[in-house]
């Protein structure tokens, strides 16, 4: 900017500078205006969940302004939070997500360490394979996986279909490749001197991993944990295919199959359930936004 103004003579510079800053303020005002529009667009569905969740069933079917709550009530929340069924869904979801996160970390952190640091035969191919696996969507695998577990049930007599713990086998296929991939990126960015020093000191590979790599790459680890949790919490297709009994369902499927009875939609409770189901990821996001975004951008930019 300064180079432009130096070329000009005194008076012109002043005018020029004034118009530049006026352009800037207008650009800023327009930015705020459009950002507000987009923010409204983004926030309407969650806000409408909140609005509806505070309404009684009479008000929901009334012809009043749907965007306003005239008689706020907590009856939907009380009904859901005292219903054993809903709490069951919530606990199922929580257990599945927590165990899947643990499994994911136990598999992907050592694997990422080995792939990032210990070059061995086929390690480059395996890293590429991990990335390709991440690109395979759930909608491609749900039918063969379903049949596979049905066949396993027939052969061994261990019935896994329609048990919530079958999800513990399946969710890692979604979380492990991505977590391994971003952990490879984080581990690869740690200076080699650090682990060489540790090895020279007589540390084993395991000690190098737990004493040096995990503490240093902790931000990456947190980002991967958040990712694994969000994916397992939000997964809808696999539980819809694999579980049917109401006591085995996780939250998203539970809300959709039990609160919608035929053509009768109990919207107050559905919206309350959806809001409660969206709460854990939203709370994590509110407190750990930077890690969340780091994980999001790492997937495509690291490599």
């Amino acid at each position: 900017m300064s180079t432009v103004t130096i070329d000009k003579s005194g008076p012109t510079r002043k005018v020029k500078y004034g118009s530049m800053s006026r352009d800037r303020t207008w650009a800023l005002r327009w930015s705020y205006f459009f950002l507000t529009l987009f923010a409204i667009f983004s926030l309407v569905p969650p806000l409408y969940m909140l609005i509806t969740s505070l309404k009684g069933s009479a008000e929901i079917s009334a012809a009043t302004n749907p965007w306003w709550v005239y008689h706020p009530t907590l009856e939907n929340y009380i009904q859901l939070l005292t219903s054993n069924q809903f709490l069951r869904f919530f606990w199922n979801s929580a257990w599945v997500s927590i165990i899947v996160v643990t499994i994911t970390m136990l598999i992907s952190v050592p694997a990422a360490f080995a792939l990032a640091r210990m070059k061995f035969w086929g390690s480059a191919t395996l890293a590429t394979g991990v990335f390709l696996t991440y690109l395979i969507p759930d909608s491609l695998l749900f039918i063969p996986l379903f049949k596979m577990f049905a066949v396993i049930g027939d052969w061994t007599g261990v019935q896994l279909i329609n048990r919530w713990y079958v999800l513990l086998f399946i969710y890692p296929t979604l979380t492990v490749p991505f977590c391994t991939w971003i952990m490879i990126g984080y581990f690869a960015s740690i200076p080699k001197e650090l682990d060489e020093a540790a090895i020279i000191d007589g540390a084993s590979w395991f000690q190098t991993l737990t004493r040096i790599f995990i503490p240093v790459a902790l931000p990456g680890l947190i980002a991967a944990t958040i990712f694994a949790f969000t994916v397992s919490w939000a997964q809808f297709l696999y539980p819809l295919v694999f579980t049917t009994s109401t006591d085995q369902l996780v939250l998203p499927v539970g809300i959709i199959t039990t609160l919608i009875k035929g053509d009768v939609f109990n919207w107050g409770q559905i919206m309350t359930g959806a809001l409660l189901g969206a709460a854990p990821p939203l709370i994590i996001y509110a407190f750990l936004m930077d890690y969340y975004i780091a994980g999001l951008t790492a997937g495509a930019t690291k490599g």
Binding site: F41, A114, P137
Partner: protein, 312 residues
């Protein structure tokens, strides 16, 4: 960390012999322990990803009762069905238009966020990323309620401006529009975040140089921003293409493929045929049709990533 480095250099100077032995031992153990560390990952991928993928190829060649080998029978049957071609068409329309709008909106919004003073960007970014954080199954329920035919909040608002009620999920064209709208709402924040990261990495000097050369706003975007962001735009679009093409949640909850199969895409139709209709071989064949498009996108992403890996 500094401690570790320090100690090691001291030890190294003092005990060269022990260091050699330690290194050699470590190297000898290295490939074995590396293999053990990656073994769970290899098993997981082999048993729960590669095997099912191959198994679905096998399933696709069986008859409905899965007792007889029918070769390409399922595919021939699909090619003769009108619904199949409808699903192909709809999947392409859905994926392409949703990705294009997500990319456009993400690009525009990223620019606006980038314009705002740095200390306020966090707040805006936080609000605009909310759609991506909410589990899609939950937020689609909210959209379904906003679209509700009799108590629709959208139609109430439109009626306020004197516009007629819109059959958001009842009419084929509107249902397609709604499904794409929800997908754009859900996916645009991802593009926004990626583009914002890319915008921040464009050196400020380039814009200054362009301003000196007298480039206007549009020229700055076309000749500076876009070329600098080309890589990230390409990879984000390809990622999103894969995810959108394989989408299930939004269509399933919003329309369940209706009205009259006019919003079915591969994933939802495969579910309808394979799980609900218990014709597993046919469902497997339907979902296999996603493979070519996914493979092409995957190859391009992989090429880009290995290229960047070689550069660095």
């Amino acid at each position: 960390m500094v401690d570790v480095a320090f100690q090691s250099s001291r030890t190294a100077a003092a005990q060269t012999g022990r260091r050699r032995a330690g290194l050699r031992n470590a190297l000898r153990r290295k490939s074995m322990s590396a293999f053990l560390m990656t073994l769970p990952l290899i098993l997981l991928i082999a048993v729960l990803v590669i095997y099912p993928a191959l198994y679905s190829l096998h399933l696709a060649t069986l008859n409905k009762a899965m007792t007889k080998f029918v070769g390409f029978g399922n595919f021939e049957f699909l090619f003769k069905r009108e619904t199949f071609w409808l699903v192909v068409k709809q999947s392409c329309i859905f994926a392409i238009s949703a990705v294009v709008f997500k990319a456009l909106i993400g690009f525009i919004v990223a620019h606006f966020v980038h314009n705002v003073p740095a200390n306020k960007q966090r707040k805006w970014r936080g609000m605009l990323l909310v759609p991506w954080v909410i589990p899609p199954a939950m937020s689609t329920l909210a959209w379904l309620w906003l679209f509700d035919p009799s108590y629709s909040a959208f139609n109430y608002t439109l009626a306020f401006f004197g516009l007629g009620p819109i059959p958001w999920t009842g009419d084929a064209m509107w249902a397609r529009f709604s499904v794409i709208l929800v997908n754009v709402w859900y996916g645009a924040p991802f593009f926004m975040i990626m583009y914002l990261a890319a915008l921040k990495s464009v050196p400020e000097q380039l814009y200054e140089a362009a301003a000196i050369d007298g480039a206007n706003w549009w020229q700055r975007i076309w000749y500076v921003t876009l070329p600098m962001m080309r890589n990230i735009i390409a990879i984000t679009t390809l990622f999103s293409l894969i995810v959108t093409f394989a989408n299930f949640d939004i269509v399933r909850i919003l329309t369940a493929g209706g009205p009259l199969d006019h919003t079915h895409i591969f994933a939802t139709w495969a579910f309808r045929v394979g799980i609900e209709g218990s014709d597993i071989p046919l469902g497997a064949s339907v979902s296999l049709f996603m493979v070519p498009i996914l493979a092409v996108a995957a190859i391009f992403i992989l090429r880009d990533i290995t290229k960047r890996g070689n550069e660095s």
